[in-house]
């Protein structure tokens, strides 16, 4: 495959084959084989092919020009609120699509043209460029050391220890500002993680309506989200939503519960029966794994799934984990019916709700 084998190719047009590559020393299996012999491309030896490649590159650049003009035309000409329906992609803003498509085409064609140019017409001769030493030469090094020593002597840092020490002290203290700011990560939560807003006698409020819940409202197979009174968005006399106190989201994030009604005979645990009311049971809505709001309730199996990591809790059996990464049962809220006939909490949760934390034990 050396160029000498082809008599049609004029020798002067061909780059020299790398015959200078070192030949392996006799008997050395790991000798550097050197670069392979250079081979010409079609466009190197065939003028027609070279001209064709030139036209291809120019064609790509012309397409890029047209696409840029198309971009400007789309920006000016297409209504930005126009929605079109395209198969597979669905409903799309027409201008968005046109701008992205034309700009992408314009840039791609420039790149593709350049690559095609380089691959077919630019020279493809392999060139070896030796690396130079990383270290500077001896003269430059000597000069740098001399300058440094002179600077140290001029600043008198060796003779004036007071300056030297105070400077080191000042620079050592500066990072303390950053360390002090870390205090903003606190304060420590104290016992906030162990308690929620639920207190003995607090009524359960339906999140959807903002009203107290009567036992008859909860029918079998239904699912109701509830919060303690004072947390649900309440409605003013004109039906307008009343503003909630600052920090309500934090409280709602701990106190959120869901209510379901089970057949009392389906409930496997006596404690769960005692803590509910005629089969109505209230469970924390915060997953014990990493605290996602949990609510995929399968009403036929009484399983409650977390949408984040598929932890599954059995609401008919003390909220025990039946599947998934959660390690603790879902906490149940003890409820009763008060004098007004509404559902109310008998006590706060008896264990911290939500995910485990360091000091929980």
């Amino acid at each position: 495959m050396s160029s000498q084998d082809n008599p049609e190719v004029p020798q002067e047009h061909l780059p020299e084959a790398h015959s200078s590559a070192r030949l392996p020393a006799h008997g050395d299996p790991f000798a550097d084989p050197g670069l392979p012999a250079h081979e010409p491309r079609v466009t190197d030896i065939d003028e027609k092919a070279a001209n064709r490649a030139e036209r291809q590159v120019a064609f790509l650049f012309v397409i890029s020009m047209l696409a840029t003009i198309g971009f400007i035309a789309a920006y000016v000409g297409i209504d930005k609120y126009r929605i079109i329906d395209i198969f597979f992609f669905g409903k799309i803003g027409a201008q968005n699509l046109a701008l992205g498509g034309t700009l992408g085409l314009a840039l791609f064609c420039i790149g593709a043209g350049a690559v095609h140019w380089a691959r077919t017409l630019m020279t493809d001769e392999e060139v070896v460029q030796e690396r130079h030493d990383l270290a500077s030469d001896a003269e430059a090094r000597e000069y740098a050391i001399r300058e440094f020593a002179q600077g140290a002597a001029d600043s008198a840092i060796g003779r004036r220890p007071l300056i030297r020490r105070t400077m080191i002290g000042a620079m050592a203290l500066v990072p303390l500002s950053g360390v002090v700011l870390l205090r903003d990560l606190g304060p420590l939560p104290g016992n906030k993680l162990r308690h929620t807003m639920w207190k003995p006698g607090k009524e359960l409020i339906n999140e959807a309506t903002g009203t107290p819940i009567k036992p008859d409202d909860i029918v079998k197979g239904s699912l109701t989200m509830a919060l303690p009174e004072g947390l649900v968005k309440e409605y003013g006399p004109a039906g307008e939503k009343l503003e909630l106190e600052h920090g309500w989201l934090e409280e709602a994030g701990k106190a959120a519960i869901l209510l379901v009604r089970l057949e009392p005979k389906d409930i496997k645990s006596q404690k769960e029966k005692d803590w509910g009311h005629e089969g109505i049971v209230a469970y924390s809505k915060i997953c014990t794994h990493v605290g996602c709001p949990i609510g995929l309730y399968e009403q036929q199996t009484h399983h409650l799934l977390c949408p984040c990591h598929q932890s599954t809790f059995d609401l008919a059996d003390d909220g025990k984990v039946v599947f998934g990464p959660a390690a603790r049962s879902l906490p149940q809220l003890k409820i009763h019916v008060n004098e007004a006939g509404n559902l109310a909490a008998t006590q706060d949760f008896t264990e911290p709700v939500g995910p485990s934390f360091w000091e929980r034990g």
Binding site: E39, P40, N96, A208, T209, K214, V219, S222, E298, T312
Partner: protein, 266 residues
């Protein structure tokens, strides 16, 4: 007269007369037959009777001869007309084969037959009635509906109504192509493993707001960038970028660095 009598002998005359006679008979029947039905007090019981016949032939195998349920299907006493309308007019019932969940499919019964079945099941025990059009027309409060949807529905159906997976082959279907009436009925009755949201805890207006939100989100909202990818958010978008976009980039890089074809010089 002359012309008329002349045409009496025309070969098509008999056919014209026949068509006229049929039209008159049919027209008279159409005019009087519904009136007769309306006059009868027992039109409802006629529907119940017809529904019972349909039930016995099509549903009783699983739900039992008296709809009390068997080991293969639940009791229908007290599920109400809304449940029947939802299950039958979305094609979920009759069930094609037992499985994790009844999927929606082309309907088997006509609208009229569905009404008769609903009337029969409603006569077995009190249950939610089929909602009227003004209850689910999507003109409620979208903002409130969105909030209610995120609190009560999004955990299973995804916050843009694209649906999601449950356990053991069960799934929450996408809401993208569901009739507002069927969304309302599903909330009212809690089909299969979906919990119900009865009027006592989720009043009519709130349900209407949710229907409005679902309608606006799934029917009107465009995907500005195209290809919503199930609107699942960063996970599906990241997966798309890693596999498709990165794949294209790697392909381009391979093309850039590929060895140029050499001339066959031998």
């Amino acid at each position: 007269m002359k012309k008329l009598s002349a045409r009496r002998r025309h070969p098509l005359a008999a056919i014209v007369v026949l068509i006229l006679a049929l039209a008159v008979t049919g027209g008279l029947y159409a005019a009087f037959a519904p009136a007769k039905k309306a006059e009868a007090d027992d039109s409802a019981s006629i529907a119940v009777e017809a529904g019972k016949k349909l039930f016995l032939s099509g549903c009783s195998t699983c739900h039992g001869l008296d709809a009390q349920g068997t080991s293969d299907g639940p009791s229908l006493v007290g599920v109400g007309a809304a449940a029947v309308d939802f299950q039958v007019s979305t094609g979920r019932m009759p069930l094609q084969q037992p499985g994790a969940q009844a999927p929606g499919k082309p309907t088997v019964y006509t609208a009229a037959q569905t009404q008769q079945l609903a009337a029969y099941v409603a006569s077995l025990g009190a249950g939610p009635e089929i909602p009227t059009a003004n209850m689910y027309v999507p003109d409620g409060d979208i903002v409130n509906g969105a909030e209610l949807f995120r609190t009560n529905c999004s955990q299973c159906h995804n916050f843009s109504g694209e649906g999601g997976a449950l356990t053991e082959g069960k799934f929450a279907p996408p809401l993208t192509d569901v009739d507002p009436k069927h969304i309302y009925e599903a909330m009212l009755t809690g089909p299969q493993n979906m919990p119900s949201f009865p009027d006592s805890t989720m009043p009519e207006q709130q349900k209407k707001d949710i229907v409005t939100y679902v309608h606006e989100t799934t029917k009107k909202e465009p995907n500005p960038g195209g290809l919503g990818l199930g609107r699942l958010g960063p996970v599906s978008e990241g997966l798309f970028t890693w596999i498709i976009a990165l794949g294209l980039l790697i392909g381009s890089a391979i093309w850039v660095a590929a060895r140029t074809p050499k001339a066959r010089t031998k």
